[in-house]
Amino acid sequence: MMRLLAAIGATVLAALAAIGRIAIFTAQALSHLFRPPYYPREFAVALLQIGYFSLPVVGLTAIFTGGALALQIYAGGARFSAEAVVPQIVAIGMVRELGPVLVGLMIAARVTSSIAAEIATMKVTEQIDALVTLSTHPMKYLTLPRILAATLAVPVLVGVGDIIGIMGGYLVGTERLGFNAAAYLTNTVDFLEARDIISSLVKGAAFGFIAALMGCYFGMNSSRGAMGVGRATKSSVVAAAVLILAANFILTEAFFTL
């Protein structure tokens, strides 16, 4: 019994300590926003890597999800003769929840892992130490550009994902389920509110921030050797995914229940 309590206590303490370390890391990273020098080139590269090169995977994820969503809503709606709500529910489902969450998770898979692996490798091969000896602060040079780029690029990706997801629903709706094309679009546009779209983009920014932050944090704190790189990558993706889902719940609560 005592041993069980001790184990629970130790786990809780470790978790709290980790949260504290991540909070300190975040504060340190953000403090460099206000302290030059800045590295615009690094920022541009990060923007390209995180934003532009994620477009294909975001598009593919969204179009299939939007299509499947339309099929399910149609099938479910048919049970109480509400098939007509497909455009509205697809729009709301994509924009409010599925768009941001799926893009967030894809970014965690694609961006968080690559940031963590890259920075961890730099750490174990002494490249981070070399940066320091070349008068370059690793937080300014590596962390801040990536966090900033992700926070700005992921909302755009979410916006694109929302639109492509709705397109997926539209294609299925008009080609397979017999909806009128013009009516489908009007229903979608009329039904969405500004709040839906704002929440979608805010979620995107939050998820981008979390994804890049976790990659940087676990990369910077990786232990030595190839195993350290592997562990940092795995932990960063798990942490990013869990935090994104938790943040999604909190943001949904904040936007739609008040």
Binding site: T125, Q127, D129, A130, L131, T133, L134
Partner: protein, 248 residues
């Protein structure tokens, strides 16, 4: 002038530095020798603040390094890492010119590139390697690129961690001459770690031998052969028999 007094550092139960006292005069070339794993790399990293010390003090020109303004302090240093530590995402010339492309020493891109190519030439590499990536070079070439990077901004104090390891004898000679030249012509202060006794004689003004976490012997290179210290003698002659055990 670099001064270490009673510097200690442990990793868990591994007491690597157990009270280091060492002085390097300005413009002097010190070579640190010592067995593999004796803490030579850790020693020079403590001076740069890359490895924190447990106790003791390190001063550069009388200023405690833990209190010196970090940027101005680091701007005076160059360091060649034992493993090279090249940025593998950047081409060779951008590695060499890293400092010249950003921060307080920033120059126009063309000029930085020219300086990089000139530094590469000094370590025996032609301009054709400038646009390659570090992963496309051999180990010895990477080491030389890293050396070029360390000297590119003409720092006052330079640390070389095994600059000639992995190089052929001719290239080792070139690098030894280069290090000597940097010290005599540019008046730089250098600390070099090496296992190669011919490098020691070519580069050193003074020699410090690290053993069991302390400076076992410290003196001018001319006295190295007549020190009468059995540890130093065993080391410089590479004998298996002697006071230093083979398994450490």
């Amino acid at each position: 002038m670099i001064e270490l007094s009673n510097v200690t550092r442990s990793f868990g139960s591994n007491h690597v530095l157990r009270g280091i006292n060492l002085t390097v005069e300005k413009g002097q070339s010190l070579v640190v020798i010592g067995g593999s794993g004796s803490g030579k790399s850790v020693l020079i990293k403590t001076i740069l603040g890359l490895v924190e010390i447990d106790s003791g003090t390190i001063t550069v020109d009388g200023v405690d390094v833990s209190r010196a303004p970090r940027d101005a302090f680091l701007a005076r240093f160059g360091m060649l890492f034992q493993g090279g530590a090249l940025f593998d995402s950047l081409p060779v010339w951008q590695n060499v010119a890293f400092r010249l492309l950003r921060g307080s020493l920033k120059r126009p891109r063309d000029e930085a590139r020219e300086i990089a190519i000139e530094k590469l030439r000094r370590v025996g590499l032609g301009p054709e390697v400038a646009d390659r990536y570090p992963a496309e070079l051999s180990g010895g070439m990477q080491k030389r690129v890293s050396l070029a990077r360390a000297i590119a901004a003409e720092p006052e104090i330079i640390f070389f961690d095994e600059p000639t390891t992995g190089l052929d004898p001719i290239m080792s000679g070139v690098i030894n001459d280069l290090i000597r030249e940097i010290v005599t012509e540019m008046g730089a202060t250098a600390i070099t770690i090496t296992h190669d006794m011919s490098s020691v004689r070519a580069i050193a003004d003074t020699i410090a031998m690290l053993y069991a976490g302390k400076i076992r012997w410290h003196g001018p290179v001319a006295q190295m052969d007549t020190s009468g210290d059995p540890y130093l003698d065993q080391f410089i002659h590479g004998r298996a028999e002697g006071p230093i055990p083979a398994i450490r």
